[in-house]
């Protein structure tokens, strides 16, 4: 059933391209009707400039959207949806497609009454309005945000058919904001101030403990994403940016930062976001996101529909510890690997886009990609990771993903020996 559904559109697409191919080979002596016939948009006037004051994608793209996996959570208010990675290219995620994870729904915060408070071990406890915040020097940085639970459903085996669901808890946007350092220095962190506790203004009052070194290094208090105001579901009017570290720490609707001498061990760093190992013990404070990659096309929601011949494989790679100088791709399940071509800017702790072009002979494929990061770390296989961690850690599954592609081009999530 699921198989039929995920591939329904693909069959449609296949039908269309099939027809186009026949035309190209001259089966229609009269020529391609797409060319010989006048289409409505060639003749009639379109909508005027007032019709779409905030533009939306073409109606032909309406299937491109975030999607939820209902059985994952009890309620859509404390839940997650997924970025449609298989529909995107380049490295920037459009704002409306950035996956959402919130714990008490989308807080609709009025910026006029939003405040940011700094308290605890500081010389001066301070309160800032949004206007105050925007008067600090700003910077622009592109960073990925990945939920630590991304790919968490795949520990025990191949579960979900689509990279949207297996890898879609990630987005990559350009943030505009104030380096957190300026704000903390305005308050004056006391020498025993070793940790910060950012807190959100939503009904979950999200909190996480972050060491002061990270806070003073590259954290940002951001109010813009991809040039426009943060979307409500991404923390409007202001969120914390914690580059390279798990998404849960990037507190949205940021209203307070407390400075302390110890971590707080709050719910999101004890009950959640700790990695349970097979011996029953658990790792905590696993903040950094390890290097990871995934092939987004082809993938189960985006099969190959053009038949054999020249084929473009593409995907994304990222690392919380630096850049991605290299991605390897295999089409035979890891017997032989080749270097993929990375295209687009290579920013620190940002998504990278890779391509691998080859002539498909129409035979079955077992596709994998393998990221190398700038520290020399190489993305491990699923079995290598499971050997160390067991299958119950939920979080931080950065292992290599396999897609099986059959002779028809239909792709499926599998595991291989």
């Amino acid at each position: 059933m699921a198989e039929n559904n995920t591939t329904r559109r693909s069959f449609l697409k296949a039908g269309l391209t099939g027809a186009a191919a026949t035309i190209a080979t001259g089966a229609y002596a009269e020529g391609d009707p797409a060319i010989t016939e006048i289409q409505p948009w060639m003749q009639e006037l379109g909508e005027g400039v007032d019709a779409r004051p905030y533009g939306t994608p073409s109606p032909f793209e309406k299937h491109v959207k975030r999607r939820n996996v209902e059985w994952l959570t009890a309620d859509p208010v404390s839940s997650v949806n997924f970025t449609p990675l298989h529909e995107l290219d380049g490295i920037i995620t459009p704002n409306g497609l950035c996956f959402e994870r919130h714990h008490a729904g989308i807080a609709e915060v009025d910026p006029a009454v939003h405040r940011l408070m700094i308290n605890g071990l500081v010389e001066k406890e301070l309160v800032f309005t949004m206007q105050d915040l925007m008067r600090f020097p700003r910077e622009n940085r592109v960073y990925f945000l990945e939920c630590a639970a991304n790919t968490g459903m795949e520990w025990r085996g191949a579960q979900l058919n689509g990279c949207q669901f297996t890898h879609g808890m990630i987005h990559n946007v350009m943030y505009t904001g104030v380096p957190l350092r300026y704000i903390l220095e305005a308050a004056g962190v006391k020498p025993n101030g070793k940790w910060i506790l950012p807190e959100g203004a939503d009904a979950s009052g999200m909190t996480r403990s972050i060491p002061i070194e990270k806070a003073l290094d590259d954290c940002m208090v951001a109010f813009k994403m991809n040039g426009e105001a943060l979307r409500p579901e991404q923390g409007y009017p202001v969120r914390l940016v914690v580059p390279g570290w798990e998404g849960n720490m990037w507190v949205k609707w940021l209203r307070r930062i407390e400075v302390g001498d110890q971590p707080w061990h709050h719910r999101e760093e004890t009950s959640k976001y700790t990695d349970l190992f097979k011996d029953g013990r658990a790792r905590r404070f696993t903040w950094e996101m390890d290097a990871k990659s995934v092939i987004t096309n082809p993938s189960p929601q985006a099969p190959i529909t053009h038949g054999k011949g020249h084929t473009v494989i593409t995907g994304v790679a990222w690392s919380g510890r630096g850049t991605i100088p290299r991605v390897d791709v295999t089409i035979d399940g890891g017997k032989n690997w080749q270097k993929a071509r990375i295209s687009g800017p290579s920013f620190d702790k940002s998504m990278h886009r890779f391509y691998f072009e080859f002539d498909w002979d129409g035979r079955e494929l077992l596709l994998q990609s393998r990221a190398h990061d700038s520290t020399g770390y190489v993305q491990p296989t699923k079995n290598e990771l499971r050997k160390v961690r067991g299958e119950n850690s939920i979080y931080h599954n950065n292992s290599i993903q396999t897609w099986y592609v059959n002779e028809k081009g239909v792709a499926e999530n599998v595991e291989i020996s």
Partner: protein, 393 residues
């Protein structure tokens, strides 16, 4: 003199113009073929040279572009200014810090004064929490389990609860006070949270039923799993193993598929007609502003209730067409005896009873298991009733 010329000027201009035109005509028809061929050839030759120059320039442009595209470090911009005193923000008042700083730490920092016992906790819990978490923390449907799971952490299906997994009791206090009940956060008194925390210890078999928890004895309670957490050690246990030049060719003899997602079949399907109906309903409602603000008020209800054509029961009954419906009338929902009683009396929901119920559910219908404190503002009551009506049509 000037007057004389003024009068004749147009004639003079005309005559000169005629002579010029005649001369041009004569010269123009004096066609010289040799001259033409010679000039045309020169022109062609010049064009050839120009073309070659264009091609050369295009090549050079490409070379320039290639040189620019060569992997050079990405420039991120100029360095940020040095920090200085920007004199931004203002001093936080004590009362403001107190209002927001509610966090509690394992060492007891931030713990407010108060006390509560297991017995009271059971009551408060069953009123505010049990609809989702179950009477004993065992959970209803897929809401989080809060009790049990002892000795399961190393098993195939670990059950992580306050008793089996959480390292610190302070986390329970902090989280319940800050975030629960779901949809009505920060509505409990400190004594209630002490009582609930005591009750959660009790249902996890960590204290006896006569236990009272307070700021005085809080520090003496430790949770059994505390010692089983250790800091991130990936740098020493994993990074070396996952670093280095990997195999690139003839890396394995054969490859078998060992697991397939298709067999498990849990991938969500494309949305059906159901969802669209709800969406259509939403747009109709936007027309009336009272209904629209009622829809906003309904956010307080939707963790437990659905409404609309395709609404289902959640932890609360679905509310489609509730006004005019009999109290507690859904066969497929397990109402409290308070509601069963009202149903047997054939009571019907109208605006007055709805307003009274929603203002103070437990005051209006003692014994109801609806864990909701009530709507305090009259405008919210008016709005929600308008919304409930419109969504029932």
């Amino acid at each position: 003199m000037s007057r004389f010329l003024d009068g004749r000027m147009p004639y003079v201009v005309c005559a000169l113009g005629f002579l010029l035109a005649a001369w041009l005509y004569y010269w123009g028809t004096g066609y010289n073929e040799d001259k033409f061929v010679e000039i045309a050839e020169q022109r062609e030759e010049t064009q050839r040279q120009l073309d070659q120059r264009d091609i050369k320039i295009r090549d050079l442009n490409l070379q320039i572009r290639e040189a620019l595209n060569a992997p050079v470090p990405v420039k991120l911009g100029d360095p940020l200014p040095e920090t200085r005193d920007y004199a931004l923000g203002r001093a936080a008042l004590q009362v403001e810090v107190a209002a927001w700083d509610i966090d509690v730490r394992p060492d007891g920092k931030g713990l407010p004064k108060g006390r509560g016992d297991v017995f009271t906790g059971e009551e408060v819990f069953s009123e505010n929490c049990a609809t989702c978490h179950g009477d004993f923390g065992e959970a209803v449907d897929r809401w989080p389990v809060l009790a049990g799971g002892h000795d399961t952490l190393a098993e195939e299906d670990p059950v992580k609860t306050i008793g089996s997994y959480w390292p610190y009791l302070s986390t329970v206090y902090d989280y319940v006070y800050r975030a629960m009940p779901f949809g009505n956060a920060q509505s409990l008194s400190h004594d209630d949270v002490y009582a609930i925390t005591a009750y959660l210890l009790y249902v996890n078999d960590l204290v006896e039923d006569d236990f009272e928890l307070s700021h005085e004895n809080f520090g003496s309670i430790s949770l059994p799993n505390e010692k089983n957490f250790y800091p991130d050690d990936r740098a020493t246990t994993e990074y070396a193993a996952f670093t280095g030049e990997p195999c690139m060719s003839d890396c394995k003899q054969s490859v078998e598929i060992t697991a397939r997602a298709r067999v498990i079949d849990v991938t969500p399907e494309e949305e059906g007609a159901e969802k669209q109906e709800v969406a259509a309903l939403d747009t109709d409602q936007a027309v009336s502003s009272l209904v629209a603000s009622g829809e906003r008020v309904f956010r307080k209800c939707r963790s437990c209730h659905e409404i609309g054509a395709s609404a289902r029961n959640k932890s609360g009954p679905q509310l489609t067409g509730i006004l005019g419906r009999k109290f507690g009338s859904l066969d497929n929902f397990n109402y409290s005896s308070a509601f069963k009683q009202a149903a047997s009396e054939e009571r019907i929901w109208d605006e007055a009873s709805m307003a009274a119920f929603l203002a103070k559910p437990k005051g209006y219908l003692p014994g109801t298991k609806m864990g909701f404190a009530g709507l305090k503002k009259q405008e919210d009551l008016d709005a929600i009733i308008a919304y409930l009506k419109s969504a029932g049509e």
